[in-house]
């Protein structure tokens, strides 16, 4: 195995805020836990869908959304542990290759929500290499802030299925909690796309 990169040095709140700054057409799905707090800290938005349960489902929710809304860029922002629980979903996504889907994995190498136990990624599993081996056309592992602007620009495009691992600094930021009312967030999200409640 290559050298293990156990998390990194990127500051998660600043990184996520930077990815979402001046957002235009992107639709955002967040995995439960810190990824949701990071996105909420960057500013609540009608085009955000936050998960509070169903660990491992951030990728699949983003997948279905991307397939139903092929003209809109869809960005999944989730943690390495959340993604690994639904690892097979990457294979299902890879077969369809929705060109408007980006998966951004916030990888601190730990299970941050449960006491900072070392995660699979922290022990050597390279999620970007898994995605590459499955046929994702664009994969990258970002350890340096200098690579963030290009990645940020790609998020508003529908330029091909993409997965990026962002090596962030381990540690918990203050919790910034999005609404836990799943029905409210669902109806708000759909309403912003022009769909009425039943």
């Amino acid at each position: 195995m290559d050298q293990v990169i156990k998390g990194g040095t990127l500051p998660r709140r600043e990184v996520v805020a930077g990815l979402l700054e001046n957002r235009d057409r992107m639709l955002v799905v967040t995995g439960l836990g810190s990824a949701s707090y990071d996105v909420m800290a960057a500013g609540d938005h009608d085009n955000n869908y936050y998960l509070w349960a169903a660990m491992g489902s951030a990728v699949t929710v983003g997948f279905g959304l991307a397939m139903a809304q092929p003209e809109r860029p869809v960005v999944v922002i989730t943690g390495d542990g959340e993604l690994m629980m639904g690892l097979g979903a990457l294979a299902s996504v890879a077969l369809k290759k929705p060109a408007n889907l980006t998966i951004a994995v916030l990888d601190n190498g730990h299970f941050g929500e449960t006491g900072m136990q070392e995660s699979h990624a922290g022990r050597g599993i390279a999620i970007d290499q898994i995605a590459a081996s499955m046929g994702f056309p664009h994969t990258q592992c970002i350890t340096d802030e200098a690579d963030l602007p290009d990645f940020r620009d790609s998020l508003e495009t529908c330029g091909g299925l993409r997965l990026a691992v962002l090596k962030i600094k381990p540690g918990n930021e203050p919790r910034v909690l999005p609404s836990r009312d799943g029905v409210h967030i669902k109806n708000r999200f759909r309403g912003a796309l022009g769909f009425q409640p039943i």
């Binding site: 489902s57 929710v61 279905g64 097979g88 299902s92 029905v183 039943i198």
Partner: protein
């Protein structure tokens, strides 16, 4: 008693027709012989996205996402896959997405492989405990009206519904050919 799986009984065609009639645009599945006709027709239909999954709970997230994007879908799975879905069903329970499941039963009647029995016997109870409404089709003529009912209540009630296709309907699996 054994149904020849190579012939495609009308009820299998009915499954696909009812889904089409309810404007289902996404058919997501883990394969089973009992779903083979619907899967084949979905794959051949350009107005339907057919998505093969590695495990059944992926379908719950996928269909939630499709609904966020304004479209309807259905999940085809085998009874053993219901067990894989349990925790992910919280997503439907808390956000109330329409979720339509069509479940082929194993471990329910005349089962040769006893390893299918534990989950087969627990399938309907598990679904109901997680808030999924269930109906069971034992006869070919039941499939169309019961699936129509399940689809109607899923899509008009933001509800989770499941039609169980019983092992008597599907026919005994031939183990020794």
């Amino acid at each position: 008693m054994a149904l020849d799986q190579r012939s495609s009984p009308d009820w299998q065609q009915n499954v696909f027709d009812v889904l089409k009639r309810h404007d289902v645009q996404h058919i997501v599945y883990v394969p089973d012989a009992g779903h083979s006709v619907a899967i084949r027709m979905a794959e051949a239909d350009n107005s339907i996205e057919s998505v093969v999954l590695t495990t059944e709970e992926e379908g719950i997230g996928y269909l939630a996402g499709a609904w966020l994007g304004g479209q309807r879908g259905a999940l085809l799975l085998q009874s053993s896959g219901v067990g894989n879905c349990i925790n992910t069903l919280a997503l439907q329970a808390c956000a109330r997405f329409p979720l339509l499941m069509v479940v082929t039963m194993r471990g329910e009647w005349a089962e040769f492989n006893g390893w299918q029995n534990p989950m087969g016997q627990a399938t309907e109870g598990t679904l109901r405990q997680m808030g999924v409404m269930t109906w069971k089709a034992d006869h070919p003529e039941d499939v169309e009206p019961l699936l129509h009912g399940a689809a109607t209540m899923a899509f008009n009630g933001d509800s989770a519904t499941a039609l169980l296709l019983s092992q008597r309907l599907i026919g005994e699996k031939e183990w020794i050919k």
